[in-house]
Amino acid sequence: MRKVPILLTLLSAAIALNAVCAEPEMGMDLMQNIEDANKSLSSNIALANKQAAGDDAKELARMFQEVETFFVHKGDAANAVDLARQSRELSAEIVALVATGKFEVATDKATTLSRTCRTCHTFYKKE
């Protein structure tokens, strides 16, 4: 009967350890969502849709924050952290640009954002 408390203690300890070691995850879903949002952003800027483009850019900024956090925890990926930060900042700039109707500049920024994604994929995208 004494084995039960020991097992329970070990199980609790394992769960606690797991919680401590838990790292942010970055699955394919997140990357797919970023790709979808990026395409939607490009379209909404071209259509001069302030509201929708702003929403897309805000969502992208949030998702790039997740990517940045993931690579910070992963370690040994300074370049990826930097690229994710750049992408987050570009997204934030686009939010401000579309809010003031500066769609041409926003298009340029969105294109730079897409290139930043590609640069990161060159090194970090898994086959």
Partner: protein, 481 residues
């Protein structure tokens, strides 16, 4: 305003709409935007560019199978020095080399290299004729793409995507500029060899754009389009009587339903097909070309004859106002073993045949365009789906290389003699990633020279605004004169 009858009202409204459409064609004028107004009348009507164009036509030379530009244009003394050794780890950083056969030893072919012209561009002994045109060429030595199978990377080269469904660059050009010659399609695909290019018509289709903008494949031989010729059993008079009746019936319906653009497109297709029965064979008929011209294009040489014929046809199409001519390299006549540039083994033999096939014809094309005053209004693009590795494969071949290879451009608006970017010391990767030129950048630059802003060349597809460069693309300003 008073209208006497419903018919009168429709007539005057129609004339008003026509006038609006015409004014829409004037740069910066009109009630409607150029493209929109023109489409109301005819989807292939000429449309105003966004800004003055540097060129009127593009000849897009696709080297099918991916040549090793390391053996043609990208001279790498260090590769020759290090040949036979393992690739130093530092050169492999950041790339995935699992395309086919793993990483072999560094490989150098037995080439002789020389600088040519005032530009000092390097050319190998495989392309001696092209070397004479050195000062017309601007090299892009920092080309990158997505490396996959040939068909997938060819699709990216032509449409910007790895999956079928997007319009090819030529289709975007047709959509944005319309046709400059009502008797010929604005977008023509040419190829040499017996078979249509293996990657297929998906590389010249119109994707989500209306089908009228897709490329028309001209096959080799005197009758370039399938089923274009009138059947022998039918006289010319019978055909015209039949077409006239069809036109009248269609026109009646078109009058009843003026907004039916599909019907208008169909009417135009019948008329275009009728006119093309004369104009298409005439466009590719070389019988009136001089012997000297044929010699210039290498038509008298067995290996370069079919490709030379194709390029001479391309020049004739440029003269006739065709906007975009996509030329896919095939196999020389009589050659069954080597059908593309894809030299995974025996690169020496493969590239000797292929270089001989294209060298004189392309040099001849550039010289001919210049002598006729057409080079300044034509853009020639020498391109491929990817390059080939500096490490060897199968002992004497090279694998696919999407990380750093060479393409070139020549013609109107181009800074001739310039070299953009570079590969590393062994020619494996782009040396400076900031100068990397992806497919989208090349497309954006081609469009720019045609007077089109790639960011403003848009089409609404299922509620989404699409553009030729997807979400990418940067004009390579350094290439522009």
């Amino acid at each position: 305003m008073c209208f006497n009858s419903r018919r009168d009202f429709l007539l005057k409204s129609g004339l008003g709409m026509g006038a609006a459409a015409v004014t829409g064609l004037l740069p910066g004028g009109g009630l409607l935007q150029g493209a929109m107004a023109a489409e109301l009348v005819d989807p292939l009507a000429p449309k105003a560019p966004h800004f003055p164009a540097k060129v009127k036509s593009v000849i897009w030379l696709h080297m099918n199978g991916a040549p090793s530009t390391l053996d043609l244009f990208d001279y790498k003394p260090d590769l020759i020095k290090l040949a036979g050794q393992d690739v130093p780890a530092s050169f492999l950083k950041g790339i995935k080399t699992s395309t086919q056969g793993g990483v072999g030893k560094l490989y150098a072919s037995k080439r002789e290299w020389k600088q040519h012209g005032q530009s000092g561009h390097w050319f190998s002994d495989l392309v001696p004729n092209l070397a004479t045109q050195s000062d017309k060429i601007a090299f892009i030595k920092s080309s990158v793409t997505v490396g996959a199978t040939h068909d997938i990377s060819i699709l990216k080269l032509n449409t910007g995507d790895l999956s079928p469904g997007r319009p090819s660059l030529g289709a975007w050009v047709s959509y944005a500029l319309g046709s400059a010659n009502p008797d010929l399609p604005p977008y023509v695909v040419l190829y040499n060899g017996k078979n249509e290019p293996s990657a297929g018509s998906v590389n010249w289709n119109s994707g989500f754009l209306p089908a009228v903008y897709q490329g028309t494949a001209f096959r080799p031989g005197p009758s370039p389009i399938f089923y274009l010729e009138r059947p022998e059993l039918r006289t010319e008079g019978q055909q015209h009587a039949s077409l006239d009746l069809l036109r009248k019936l269609n026109q009646k319906n078109a009058d009843r339903y003026p907004s039916d653009t599909e019907l208008k497109a169909r009417l135009r297709s019948y008329d275009l097909a009728d006119r093309m029965q004369v104009s298409a064979p005439a466009a590719v008929d070389l019988s009136k070309e001089s012997d000297a011209t044929k010699e210039l294009y290498g038509i008298n040489d067995e290996t370069s004859s079919s490709y030379g014929t194709t390029l001479l046809r391309a020049r004739r199409l440029v003269e006739r106002g065709v906007r975009f001519i996509q030329v896919v390299s095939g196999a020389p006549d009589g050659q069954t073993e080597i059908t593309s540039w894809d030299a995974h083994n025996d690169l020496e033999k493969n590239h000797s045949v292929n270089a001989r096939m294209i060298d004189k014809p392309i040099a001849g094309l550039l010289a001919d365009l210049e002598s006729r005053g057409l080079l300044e209004s034509t853009l020639v693009v020498w391109t491929s789906e990817f390059g080939r590795t500096s490490y060897g494969q199968s002992g004497n071949g090279r694998d696919h290389n999407p990380w750093g290879y060479t393409q070139w451009v020549a013609g109107g608006g181009i800074k001739a003699g310039y070299t953009h970017g570079a590969t590393d010391e062994i020619g494996l990767q782009v040396a400076n990633k900031d100068q990397a030129v992806d497919t989208y950048d090349l497309h954006a630059t081609v469009l720019q020279l045609l007077g089109l802003d790639h960011l403003k060349t848009t089409f609404l597809n299922n509620g989404r605004s699409e553009r030729p460069t997807v979400v990418y693309g940067k004009v390579i300003k350094e290439l522009l004169a």
